[in-house]
């Protein structure tokens, strides 16, 4: 295989050719330079076909060398769909081709290509659906053939470390080409904190492969330097500014509202919030549509320039160069200097170029064909010829045998990020490009994105825009001279042939687009969806201009009203790993102040909302029994806790809650349901009047954030003068429950603990071991219980102290699962578990908390409606017989084969020795004593008996003792 590395170049100096790196491509060892991309190294090694196209499996090779298209999607070290021309080689890399079997050179699926004439446009909608049974079979084959890269299911790369980083510059400049660099300079000189983000490893943009000398620049020291050196000089100057940070090899993939910029640097996600943003993304080679425009061996002007100047690779041996502007001679000159025989320069213009490069090209003996352009490329797997003719595509001028066709048809602004600024680009007839003139406030744009221009002009404009951004001024208008403007060629050179590919990613031809328009898909948006052009891996970055122009043309409109389809983030595909960052989950884990104590005691944990709570400490049934028989303790720190005070506190509570609380004396507690505006029961809790005018409300764990937000929402939207303290995280809490709880409390505190002195549903202040605590005589378990609330920082000390003091009564911790059994024995409902989004509170049995003969309160109107309607369904406690299977939560209740209800909570009661639960049933099944058939998940029924009371201690004697 001939080595295509250049040892020298006639017109420019090349960087050292070290060839120090080795990697494998489909198991073959390839030598590479450290500054190679995978694609440049493969090209140097003479490998022309790197991948196959999506639909027809047509061969794909190096095209723009910039990763805009999807020509070179490869699997690298197990990662699929890596862009070969954007990715630097690394020593030992394992690179594999995708979507081709057995190899990209001989791809069996290329048979699709020969079927092209048989497939109508939109064929996938027109085939395989009749008869009906055919589709599932056809689909299996289609799914086998579909897709580009293979997801690595081995999981070997899963431990990649991803990181999120944050920046808050005054000004963020996106793009380090001449205009971007100049605007950086201006903003830095104004003393602003500036962040420059550049996609490439080096700064300079297209200047790094441009040997043209800078002239007429306002900064005189740059005049006479090559553009390469001028960009280097600015870079050197920028390095002296301490108020500038430069991120290279970092690609901005999205611009969101309020100047939020998202950028990727390898495995890192940068989230940048900038005061002002300067967009200088530049322009890239136009995608020219003509017959066979997708064959390997066709490359863009900048593509070959990059290959030669940055990687020292000779792009081909015999080249035909197609162009329509002076820059094409620079490209031709670089080709000649690299030893490529340039057979012809086909220039669509009538007048010959007068640049230095044009003179050299001419001197080297290359003929220049005016008023000419390409009609067709020849070849199957690679280019072996080119046909040149007139621009109208009617008259052929000449044919050439060549292995390289260079398309230098001008440049299209890289509009992706500008479009994300929510502005629709329009066709600028004068400048012959799609352009966004004015962005919303805080966003600026400069450079080739307004049409290409000379280095001097870009520098001048960049400086002015940088200054404007620093001063918060209007964006200065961009100016382009007549010489700067490149008159666009037809988007499709209309010579004969059926392979004019508009979209190379999805293999969509002009003919297919036209046929689709004839079917009625006559807007660029529907045309795109129907043919899927512009929807492949490049997302239109390569073809947007051609798509928009041709869609306009073929639907009978002029280019001047053409619009590209909306650009959506991300600008380049970004992995889930980068977006997710280090966390595997965004919901934080919340632990109580006593978490470690539970862990030491052998607890297993469950998720209660964001919280980790002890499920149990081993044997649930034993835990439940031991609490009933003696003394238990449970960590209830996760309850929501709100302190409510202020002049209107009681009015606010009267409005928020369905009950009446004006007469709630200090030191007293009341249970309350919480009702939504729709009259639905969505939460419950207790309200304690802890001291004159100060109320302390506890809510359930799962709802604590929602309730807090709800209360705050009502405060800010009404006139209530109320203060709410969110005490949820500030106070830890335990509940001590069981016969011996009073005895333990008497040891712990120094207040009257007698039934009369501290009755059920009342609250007291006390101190335990010097720590101030609030005591609440409430309980969910049905036993004599006390809840102790105290500052969270004493969590472990308090737990340890209580456990030590309780040892003589054999105190045992119990978990949530045990508590659920205990509360079920008492028939207490749990909001969210025994209720749903439509629960009528009267039907749920909490009507006693609703006092609807008071002034307006939340839910009043709908509660009246519920009350008037009467009970239709009911939440009832039930019991099973000893020995019955315990149904799972959620199973159905049936009557005569029809579902009439459902079980919401179902457990085995250790103390009673049979299954108990709560269930929603139709009202005609709710009379105590009714037998209900509960359908087990695995089939078969168990019969429950409806109770009218708690299964355990129905009178509440123990609780109130």
């Amino acid at each position: 295989m001939p080595d295509k590395r250049l040892s020298s170049h006639a017109y420019i100096s090349l960087s050292e050719c070290d060839q120090a790196i080795a990697f494998t491509f489909n198991s073959k060892v390839i030598k590479a330079r450290s500054d190679d991309t995978i694609a440049s190294a493969l090209h140097a090694a003479g490998i022309g076909i790197l991948s196959r196209s999506f639909k027809y499996h047509r061969p794909r090779g190096l095209y723009d060398g910039y990763g805009l298209g999807a020509d070179l999607l490869l699997a690298v070290d197990g990662t699929p769909n890596v862009r070969g021309d954007k990715t630097r080689v690394e020593d030992g890399m394992d690179v594999r081709s995708q979507n081709a079997w057995p190899s990209p050179d001989f791809d069996a699926m290329a048979v699709n290509n020969t079927l092209v004439p048989l497939l109508p446009n939109g064929f996938y909608y027109k085939m395989f659906h009749r008869p009906k049974w055919l589709w599932p079979i056809a689909e299996k084959f289609i799914r086998k053939a579909a897709g580009i890269g293979a997801i690595d299911t081995t999981g070997e790369t899963v431990d990649t470390r991803y990181e999120k980083r944050y920046r808050f510059p005054d000004i963020c400049v996106i793009g380090g080409g001449p205009a971007g660099l100049a605007s950086c300079l201006a903003a830095c000189q104004e003393g602003k904190h500036v962040l420059l983000v550049e996609e490439d490893p080096q700064l300079g943009g297209h200047s790094v492969h441009t040997a043209t000398k800078v002239a007429n620049c306002q900064d005189d020291r740059l005049n006479g330097l090559s553009e390469q050196d001028a960009a280097g000089a600015i870079w050197d100057e920028l390095k002296t500014y301490k108020n500038l940070e430069i991120l290279t090899s970092t690609v901005v993939f999205a611009l969101y509202e309020d100047n939020l910029i998202a950028a990727q640097s390898k495995h890192d996600l940068y989230k940048i919030r900038a005061g002002a943003v300067i967009l200088a993304p530049g322009a890239t080679d136009r995608h020219l549509v003509f017959e066979n425009n997708d064959i390997p061996g066709i490359m863009t002007g900048r593509g070959v320039e990059r290959l030669i100047t940055m990687h020292g690779v000779k792009p081909g041996t015999r080249a035909v160069v197609i162009g329509n502007h002076d820059g094409v001679y620079h490209t031709a000159m670089l080709l000649q200097g690299a030893g490529v025989e340039v057979l012809v320069v086909a220039d669509s213009r009538s007048d010959a170029a007068t640049t230095e490069a044009a003179r050299i090209v001419n001197e080297n003996g290359t003929p220049i064909q005016p008023l000419s352009t390409i009609h067709a490329a020849k070849g199957r797997k690679s280019v072996n010829g080119a046909v040149i003719g007139d621009i109208a595509g009617k008259v052929e001028h000449a044919s050439y045998r060549c292995d390289l066709i260079v398309i230098a048809a001008g440049f299209k602004p890289q509009l992706s990020l500008l479009s994300m600024g929510r502005v629709q680009p329009g066709w600028d007839e004068e400048r012959q490009v799609f352009r966004v003139e004015k962005l919303p406030d805080g966003l600026y744009s400069t450079g080739d994105v307004h049409g290409t221009a000379s280095f001097a002009q870009l520098y001048k404009e960049g400086k002015a825009v940088g200054l404007a951004a620093a001063q918060g001024a209007e964006q200065p208008q961009s100016v382009r001279s007549k010489e700067d403007i490149i008159v666009a060629l037809p988007a499709d050179i209309p010579a004969k042939g059926k392979h004019h590919f508009i979209c190379k990613c999805m293999d969509v031809t002009r003919a297919e687009a036209c046929a689709s328009i004839a079917e009625g898909f006559d807007r660029v948006e529907t045309l795109k969806r129907y043919t899927s052009m512009g929807m492949g891996p490049c997302q239109g970055k390569m073809c947007y201009e051609a798509v928009a122009r041709l869609a306009a043309e073929d639907t009978g409109l002029s280019t001047s009203v053409a619009v590209p389809t909306t650009v959506r983030p991300p600008y380049i595909p970004v992995s889930f790993g980068v977006l997710a960052g280090r966390s595997q989950h965004l919901i934080p884990i919340r632990r109580t102040a006593m978490h470690d104590m539970h862990q030491q005691a052998g607890a297993t944990f469950l998720n209660a909302g964001q919280w980790k709570r002890p499920h149990s400490y081993g044997d649930v049934q034993r835990e439940a029994r031991s609490m009933r028989e003696g003394l238990g303790i449970i960590d209830v720190s996760t309850l929501g806790k709100l302190g409510i005070s202020g002049p209107d506190a009681i009015d606010f509570l009267q409005f928020m809650l369905p009950g009446k609380f004006r007469k709630l004396a200090t030191g007293k507690i009341r249970y309350s349901a919480m009702i939504g505006e729709d009259g639905i029961l969505f939460e419950d809790g207790t309200l304690a009047h802890v001291k004159e005018g100060y109320y302390y409300m506890s809510t359930t764990t799962g709802n604590q954030d929602a309730i807090r937000s709800l209360f705050w929402w009502w405060i800010v939207t009404t006139d209530f003068d109320v203060k709410i303290d969110n005490l949820g995280p500030i106070f830890a809490a335990v509940n001590i429950s069981g016969k011996n709880s009073r005895k333990l409390l008497e040891k712990l505190v120094d207040i009257d603990m007698s039934t009369e002195g501290f009755p059920y549903m009342s609250t007291r202040n006390a101190t335990i071991n010097g720590v101030p605590v609030m005591l609440f005589r409430i309980g969910f378990t049905g036993e004599l219980s006390y809840e102790i609330h105290f500052p969270s920082e004493y969590g472990e000390a308090m737990w340890t102290h209580i456990m030590a003091e309780g040892a003589e009564y054999s105190i045992k911790p119990f978990g949530i699962e045990t508590q659920r059994i205990l509360r079920l024995e008492k028939g207490h409902l749990l909001p969210g578990i025994d209720t749903d989004a439509l629960t009528n509170p009267y039907e749920a049995g909490v009507g006693f908390t609703i006092k609807d003969n008071k002034d307006d309160f939340i839910g009043k109107a709908f509660l009246k409606n519920f009350k008037d309607r009467g009970i239709e369904n009911k939440l009832i406690p039930y019991k099973l017989s000893a020995g019955d299977a315990i149904p799972s939560d959620g199973v159905a209740i049936l009557k005569a084969g029809k579902i009439t209800g459902r079980v919401t909570s179902s457990r085995m009661s250790p103390i009673l020795g049979y299954g108990i639960g709560l269930a929603w049933v139709n009202v005609d099944q709710s009379t105590p004593g009714t037998k209900i058939a509960i359908r087990l998940a695995g089939g078969g029924d168990v019969i429950g008996e409806v109770l009218d009371h708690a299964a355990y201690d129905p009178e509440g004697v123990l609780l109130k003792s």
Binding site: R130, K132, A146, A150, G520, I833, F866
Partner: protein
């Protein structure tokens, strides 16, 4: 030359029925009207067919809802979908690959059990699977108990799947056109003419037209359109975001949904993973994408499928959802205005309803009386406080 999907017409002065909105529901309504023999019908579309939710959803179909009303309605819809490619002679690529709803908490799993039982009782194929059974069908899923929210079980629904959403719009449009319905694109309704409690017609950017019956079928824009007739709807409009990855060799052959993790994903026949999240937490008409959505989705999907860490997102977008208080739609006459109807409130679950919505809406318009199937979805139910509770089954949009 292939035949045109739909023809273009001049606007007539009068129609029997005017359908505002050329999405899947509007065009399905038009198609079934034509099939029922009602010919003088116009569909007025402000932009192009499928601009709104029909072209922005994630194309998941299923019928395993929770309430009897919901289950029966969506079961009819799924049944119509199953035969739609053949009926409309257009390959809609309905991939009946099976649908998982994962349960990660006791309460959500209990809700899934209730759905399984209700489905079973009404003849819908939907049942619970254990984590090990899930793993058999989805070998790469993470069922570890160390996950932030471990998987406790799943509701599995074999007939659920995905379809090519744009194709549904186009095929209904073509069918309606064939049946004589006029589809008017770029025709924006600017006012709805009401006189003496009766609808008279609509004013558009192309002129005023008269009709005995006018129906709004515009999903996310329902509040705005119905306001033109003076009708206030109990809708709150939220954005809903989605994303799609690059194309990969098909690896995932089921729809996977997790409401605890707020995610759902499936892989199309083209190899792209189509993914979505719950609605954005704020009402908004701007169809804007956010970074927060992509970050949250990514973190959550990696909890389920860690191997996807180097799979790349290619595009993100947003649509609008008109949410009702009970997560069920409105398909109903408006009593106050004779001849004015509303089909809306489709929230995040409208696309899968398109055929049943179109069929029953057409029946309602053609026969002048509300079919039993959609009686529960009346406009008046909110005033009467007779809601259809699909919140548990419809949240997280899938």
């Amino acid at each position: 030359m292939a035949k045109q999907m739909w023809r273009t017409y001049d606007l007539k002065k009068t129609y029997d029925i005017v359908i505002i909105g050329g999405g899947a529901h509007g065009l399905a309504t038009a198609y079934y009207l034509a099939k029922m023999g009602v010919k003088n019908v116009a569909v007025l579309e402000a932009r192009y067919p499928g601009y709104g939710g029909s072209g922005r959803n994630t194309a998941i179909l299923r019928s395993n809802y929770r309430t009897e009303e919901g289950i029966k309605f969506y079961d009819q819809s799924l049944g119509l979908y199953e035969n739609l490619s053949t009926e409309l002679n257009y390959n809609l690529m309905f991939s009946q690959q099976g649908h998982f709803t994962l349960g990660h908490t006791e309460s959500s799993t209990s809700g899934l059990v209730t759905r399984a039982e209700n489905n079973k009782a009404l003849g819908v194929n939907s049942f619970m699977l254990t984590p090990q059974e899930i793993k058999k069908k989805l070998p790469e899923i993470n069922i570890s108990s160390h996950a932030r929210y471990p998987i406790l079980g799943a509701l599995y629904h074999p007939p659920g799947g995905i379809i090519r959403h744009d194709a549904v719009v186009w095929a209904y449009g073509r069918g309606a056109d064939k049946g004589g319905v006029e589809i008017h694109n770029l025709t924006e309704v600017q006012d709805i003419l009401v006189k003496n409690g009766k609808v008279e017609g609509v004013k558009t950017n192309r002129g005023t037209i008269y009709a005995k019956k006018v129906i709004s079928v515009v999903a996310g824009w329902s509040s705005e359109v119905c306001r033109l007739a003076g009708v206030k709807l109990p809708f709150v409009t939220h954005p809903l975001q989605a994303l799609v990855t690059e194309s990969y060799k098909p690896w995932l052959h089921h729809v996977v949904v997790s409401s605890t993790l707020h995610i759902y994903l499936s892989q199309t026949d083209r190899g792209e993973l189509v993914c979505g999240d719950g609605i954005d937490g704020y009402p908004h008409y701007g169809m804007r994408s956010t970074l927060g959505f992509m970050e949250a989705f990514s973190a959550h999907v990696l909890e389920l499928f860690p191997i996807l860490h180097n799979v790349k997102v290619q595009r993100q977008w947003a649509g609008l959802c008109d949410m009702t208080p009970d997560y069920s739609p409105i398909i109903s006459p408006i009593d106050e205005i004779e001849g004015f109807y509303v089909n809306g409130g489709w929230g995040t679950y409208g696309f899968k309803a398109s055929p049943a919505s179109g069929f029953n809406t057409a029946k309602m318009l053609a026969e002048g009386k509300v079919p039993d199937m959609i009686k529960p979805f009346s406009y008046n139910r909110f005033g009467e406080n007779r809601l259809v509770g699909e919140k548990a089954a419809a949240s997280v949009s899938s």
